[in-house]
């Protein structure tokens, strides 16, 4: 079912904003998405009528807030196909989710063990493992990428050894748009008894995610890239893993009993949630995912694929443009470089035309080194973007190029 874009765009107040007196064309969805009224209103409503600290409170507001908070956990865990809401931990975002696992796994990593990442990882799914390896004298290995921006699974088979303790890989690359074949990757890794953590930051709002089908051990994502609020995210972890890992922060609801000598910890998921949780954030995150579900993730995917295909064809007509990342399986992200022009110049001029794109290394410096480029201009799409906007972007791009050469 095609998306009703006029209606949808009205759901997002910021989209009617003017920037430098031009209508805003927001193509920076890979960095963060805009928020529909449903999300904004849910947060407002919470603070107006339900706000309270959760768990252990005997009074009405506390009980209401706790119910809603736990219902959000349930909804979000079902949204990603998890089996049990105990497997969903609230964090402040994908980065914290990944760091949580890296910290809590620390005791399992011994000298000469190996952790595998890929050359396309965002710093958030690369540096935590690198630093863990440094600390534990383990080795960080990485899968290279092929010219089209995809991975070679044969290389994965070769990299996996009996010393491999974890494979950490993104579901979708934030630079290349590549959708990695996670199910197959997990199958291969599990054959070698290697658990797999998926960085789903760029996937959650764009393709169907089903952690049981993927069979991954951990799945990390942020609310703000899925039409929800900032400062909120989640980590899915298989209960068998979460039960085994030790907590990584201490205080609040994650504690069961304490004396000066000894502390016992609460069950999962609470074991990993220290301090007062962001209840408004959880409700906002739920509202964002419900919004996605209302439109239908497959409809969104189709729409964004169409935009990508359309935009890709158009930019390729422009002289000097190279598209970075042309994997068969990709979505929503269009990175490009233009011969002799610095992406920053393009971004600055496009901004003057009301067009928001991102330029730079996109927190993926190792990937830039592999590709031997210093950065790209990235247009990344969301469910509210239109072909008309792509046209504006193309016209703007040509105008910017003509000013810069």
């Amino acid at each position: 079912m095609p998306l009703e874009l006029t209606k949808i765009r009205n759901d997002f107040p910021i989209l009617s904003q003017k920037v430098h007196n031009k209508p805003l064309v927001y193509f920076d969805n890979g960095a963060t998405t805009q928020k529909p009224w449903e999300v904004i209103n849910r947060i407002t409503e919470y603070y107006k009528t339900e706000n309270s600290n959760v768990h252990r409170g005997t009074h009405y507001l506390s009980q209401i807030a706790t119910d809603h908070f736990e219902n959000a956990r349930k909804y979000i865990s079902e949204f990603i196909g998890a089996n049990n809401q105990r497997e969903l931990i609230f964090t402040k975002g994908a980065t914290e989710s990944i760091n949580l696992v890296a910290t809590s796994m620390s005791d399992y990593i011994n000298p000469d063990d190996e952790i595998i990442v890929t050359a396309m990882e965002h710093h958030s799914n690369m540096v935590p493992w690198q630093q863990l390896c440094l600390k534990r004298k383990a080795n960080l290995k990485h899968l290279t990428i092929q010219p089209d921006g995809s991975l070679d699974l044969n290389e994965l088979e070769e990299l996996l050894t009996i010393s491999t303790k974890l494979l950490a890989i993104s579901h979708i690359s934030n630079v290349l748009g590549t959708i990695n074949p996670i199910k197959e990757i997990v199958r291969i890794a599990h054959k070698h008894n290697v658990p797999v953590l998926i960085d789903g930051a760029q996937a959650i709002a764009h393709i169907k995610v089903d952690v049981q089908d993927l069979d991954c051990d951990f799945y990390a994502f942020s609310a703000h890239k899925a039409y929800g609020p900032m400062g909120m995210g989640a980590l899915f972890g298989k209960a068998e893993w979460l039960d085994r890992l030790s907590p990584y922060q201490f205080g609040g609801e994650m504690i069961s009993t304490v004396s000066f000598n000894r502390t016992t910890f609460n069950e999962i998921p609470y074991k990993f949630e220290a301090g007062t949780p962001d209840v408004a954030g959880a409700l906002g995150m739920e509202a964002g995912l419900r919004y996605i579900d209302k439109l239908g993730i497959d409809n969104i995917r189709k729409h964004e694929d169409d935009l990508l295909e359309y935009a890709t064809a158009k930019v390729k007509e422009i002289e000097g443009v190279s598209v970075i990342g042309e994997s068969k399986d990709k979505t929503a992200v269009l990175s490009l470089v233009i011969e002799g022009i610095h992406p920053f110049d393009l971004g600055t001029l496009l901004d003057q035309m009301g067009i928001a794109v991102r330029t730079g290394n996109h927190c993926a410096q190792p990937l830039m080194s592999c590709l031997n480029i210093s950065g790209t201009l990235r247009a990344s799409f969301g469910l509210y973007n239109t072909k008309d906007e792509v046209d504006i972007f193309i016209v703007g791009l040509k105008k910017a190029i003509s000013m810069l050469v």
């Binding site: 005997t58 009980q63 736990e70």
Partner: protein, 141 residues
């Protein structure tokens, strides 16, 4: 009386009260009729977690029917567990496992039937059904 009948009579009693004070006073009274748990069972094993107050629950198999005893350090909690015992005690494991807890809704305790509620009503119900299930397995062997 069946569980259903016992539940209904509790619902009838509660329906006479129109304010919360009477309802809670009645709950507190119910607590006083609680068949008390033997002191020796007041230990970690019999403690129900998930309540702000402490609740100890014990179950005995008396020739195919279950008898519950309990205690709590809070009187409202005592009233709640007493109410549950009034309805469930004296029934077979099978009856307890299959019991319908809608009556909690009718007496206005439904809003307490969330796993995260501090009163631990859900934990109590779960624990009682767990006992019933255990006895059922024993009976079937």
């Amino acid at each position: 009386m069946t569980i259903k009948e016992k539940a209904q009579s509790i619902v009838d009693e509660f329906s006479m009260f129109d304010d919360w004070m009477d309802k809670y006073s009645y709950l507190i009274e119910l607590g006083k009729e609680l068949p008390l748990i033997d002191e020796k069972y007041k230990n970690e094993t019999h403690l129900i977690s998930g309540c702000q107050s402490r609740v100890w629950l014990h179950a005995e198999d008396a020739k195919g029917i279950i008898r519950f005893t309990a205690d709590s350090d809070a009187v409202i909690t005592k009233g709640i567990i007493s109410l549950l015992i009034k309805v469930l005690s004296g029934s077979t494991p099978n009856e307890i496992v299959n019991a319908d807890f809608n009556f909690l809704d009718e007496i206005g305790l439904k809003s307490h039937l969330s796993p995260t509620r501090a009163n631990g009503l859900v934990s109590m119900v779960k624990q009682m059904q767990l006992y019933a299930r255990a006895f059922k397995i024993k009976l079937n062997n």
